[in-house]
Amino acid sequence: MSAILLAILLALGVLLAVLILAGGLVWAERRLLGLWQDRYGPNRVGPFGVLQVVADGIKILMKEDWVPPFADRSVFVLAPAMMMAAVLLPFAVIAFAPGIAVADLNIGLLFFLGMSSLAVYGAALAGWSSNNKYSLLGSIRAVGQMISYEVFMGLALMGVVILTGSFRLGDIVRAQAGMWFCVPQLPGLVLFLIAGLAETRRIPFDMSEADSELVAGYHTEYSGIKFALYYFNEYIGVSLISALITALYFGGWLGPWLPPLLWFFLKTLVLIGFFILVRATLPRLRYDQLMSLGWKVLLPLALLNLLATGAVVLATGH
């Protein structure tokens, strides 16, 4: 009985932590963007502007929650929820510390890849159900981008799996006790980072939103809490990719004298900061540049990485 209770509490704890992290990201992104753009972020509401999240939340809940009369109502309401499920579920397989994982599945990594494929539905159905040209264009771009970049995301991860011999995230972290995988798998890390940026539709791959070009892409018709869900999903996606990169390439919870959970958290935060730094730096890729980059450059590189890793492992017999 207490084992079940502990499992439920762990699941709720992880859920709460992720949601608080995503909410904190709303504030952190604006402050960090300001830091790197020689300006202040929000600093009026509360100490250092931390209550900005509360202010944003109140604002967005007060907005009119309107479903367009020309839209497909049930799908319109379901799409953000589907996407949220698809980005929240992979947190269950991540091992935050030895013993702290909601479900350290032996196919954990494969589960994450499957869930990221389901996240495409959230974007696709949003644009389709909106019954609006710009939304449809945005969702077409989002779907094309996400599907193309998923192909070599899986291949880049295979390098890690070859070095470890298992899909279980706990095993992958333990296999990095000697040397973190960012060193032998540096091309794989870069590829997974780029793929992660494209999966969560962050800059420089946010052509599907394209704030100044495509109105708001596939979430043009959304307002109020449904839009807030999409906004949150982006931040939860960023947290997910950062947590995964930490677990897969940067040693997860491994580290000298701090508690393991704290190490995991700190590394994830540094990576989230890196995501925000990339947003502050890079211009947006044009859609055809994005697609040709994915298929013509990154997919062959992922295959080469896999080939090289496999050859070395086979030759040296690790």
């Binding site: 830091l35 020689d38 202040y40 890079l282």
Partner: protein, 171 residues
Amino acid sequence: MFSILRSIWYVFLHAFRRRFTVQYPDRLRRLPPRWRGRIILARDPDGGERCVACYLCAMACPVDCIALQATEDDHGRRYPEFFRINFSRCIFCGFCEEACPTRAIQLTPDYEMAEYERPNLVYEKEDLLIAGPGKYPGYNFYRVAGVSIKGKQKGQAEGEQPPEDVKTLLP
């Protein structure tokens, strides 16, 4: 690829530079003295109004935001009976300041004039008149002009010679 990484590094270094935001309203930006802000009506060094109600500023104004009416006091000195500037129309171009012959109307570096109701943006002479000479301290129009007012007859201005009695010019 290298240029991308280098850009990311350079933007990261911006975290250690000074931020350029001026935190209004705790700190205010320093404005130059000729900054065209709120309009005022100045006075002479002797305390009288400088404005002679010549209508030049109203004619120069490109959006017709100045309204005034001239009148004379008992000693022949012209002054405006009312002087009204509609700040919801004013574009702060400074043409009125350039047109004024007596340096009466001036633009000051003040911009905090926000109101909740539009009629409150129409400033009357009492709102515009200030106690001092504004940006041009020593100038007194009536001391250099030839008009006669209380305390100064014709011929008593600076650099002016007394009027000739033409009867003495007869051969």
